[in-house]
Amino acid sequence: MKDASPAKPYALHLGVIALLFALSFVLPEYHHGLLARIMVLAVFAMGYNLLFGYVGLLSLGHAMFFSAGLYGAGLAVIHLGWSVSAAFAAGLACGALLALVIALLALRTSGVAFMIVTMMFAQVFYLVILYLAAWTGGDQGMVVPQSMRVLVLGSTSLDLTNPTVRYMSALALFSIVLLISLAIVRSGYGRVLVAIRENEERTKMLGYDTFSNKLAAVIVSGTICAGSGAAYALLFGYVGSSFASVQYSILPLLWVLLGGAATTLGPLIGTLFMYYVIDVASGYTSAYLLIVGIALILLVLFFPKGILGSIRQRWLGWLP
């Protein structure tokens, strides 16, 4: 951050939000639906990026936070008949609680052990979902009934199955999280996180409590990912165990690496790009995992900073 003036970054981010808003009116139906999904998943990637990009903690288990939100919200609607807003809050609460427990355990380790521990906890979470098939629907998953997916705000009620409402809800969530992450990154707290990434010992020596800072980062990251999962369940009406599988822990890593770790807009760009690559490729071949695999290897080999990371390095030093 060479330029401390807040105007440019805020203008850029508001511009991106305005662009996404405008796109809602011009995009053809198919891409309109796709973009809504991408925005929700980009929230997942932003939550991941907060931990991986800024704190430097590579988790291989973020699918559990996403699916904690997904199941927290989805099951609250299906089994308890909760309203959409209550279910969303339930999803967030599940994610935050899980993140707290996982953080307290996993943060005792670091480096490779942290990756393996998070992967194993996520695997346990996945297996528990399969084991409790009576409530979760197991690997079949469950559909959130359309009639329940109505958001009541005061006297107006919004039907979340309507494409426009769905798009705008996704955009609202995306914008809020984007601005939150921008604010975090620009705050003193964000700088402490980066300091931990760069040199934890030195940060500790400077008098910062690195453990509680990391703890807070995992909880914020987990809650954001849970928000994405909860929104996914409520907007797209499906909860399934595949969202808890290892693959959904790898995907946000891929999106963030592609877009640029430790950039606020990188997750959106990475998610957008990868989603479309897979979407286009699946028109020709069912072998989309091959593309994911090759993309991962090429990224770490030749392009470790990602798209926005490279742009920031070359031209735009002020990008947050």
Binding site: R108, V117, Q123, L127, A287
Partner: protein, 293 residues
Amino acid sequence: MHFGPHLLLAALEGLVTSAVLALTALGLSLVFGVMRVVNVAHGEFFMLGAVLAWAISTAISGHPALGFLAALVLAPLIVGLIALLAERLVLRRLNYNPEATIVATIGMLYIIQQLALTFYGPEARPVEPPFSYRILLPWFGYSGYKLSIIAASALLLVATWLVLTRTKIGLIMRATQYDSETAQAFGIPVTRVYAGVFALGAMLAAVAAVLIVPISQAHYLMGQDPLLLSFIVVIIGGLGSLRGTVVAAVLIGLSDGIISVFFSPTLAKIIATLLVAMVLVFRPQGLFGTASR
């Protein structure tokens, strides 16, 4: 069947699992110990071994033992070559950075899995065992082939142990593991040792897969469980410790066999995974390992 014989059967099944697991985990443990690389694609090398075993044994007509023996020799060699290629093309260029190599091996996992699905297909295919002799115990008959798996695995483990502790190659490997920079200063070609170890690790997984495939069938997703179990074994046994790996493999294999017979396999996996995560959190050096430097 009464409880006693039932338990004996479960224990025998568990020992077969342990035997295969010990070989697979040993490969993972060597790669981690010497190279400090967590090879997430290890399970896919296992799967490749099984798939190649099917391909080779169906290509060779005649007595099933002939095809099986050919597979036992050729499949690990091919897998070793693939691993060597992956090491040269990817891991070396990443300078064996632990975090970057994890991401890269995840990429390898997807590539190998998808290629297996594309070229081999989603079916599970059996390989005929080389012999089908049944040993008659007083309570039940037991496959002689399964017992020979245990023997073969024990033989290979002893051979690996001898190579590691009694030969010059083993000495070079241990020196590299202990301190790669000093080893390099003493003229040990460290990157060649790394390439060899990575290939050896993959070959151990492939051998294990060839041994198990006559009783379990080859399938393109079969690498996932061995990967998870190998992680568990390596962590419990202490990363990079051969003796710990074998002890942990027997422990995990036996308890997995026995728990799966009496309880739900999913529950068994949940408990095992959770326990191992806890071991890693509270005793990172493993139950049998000593604290790392």
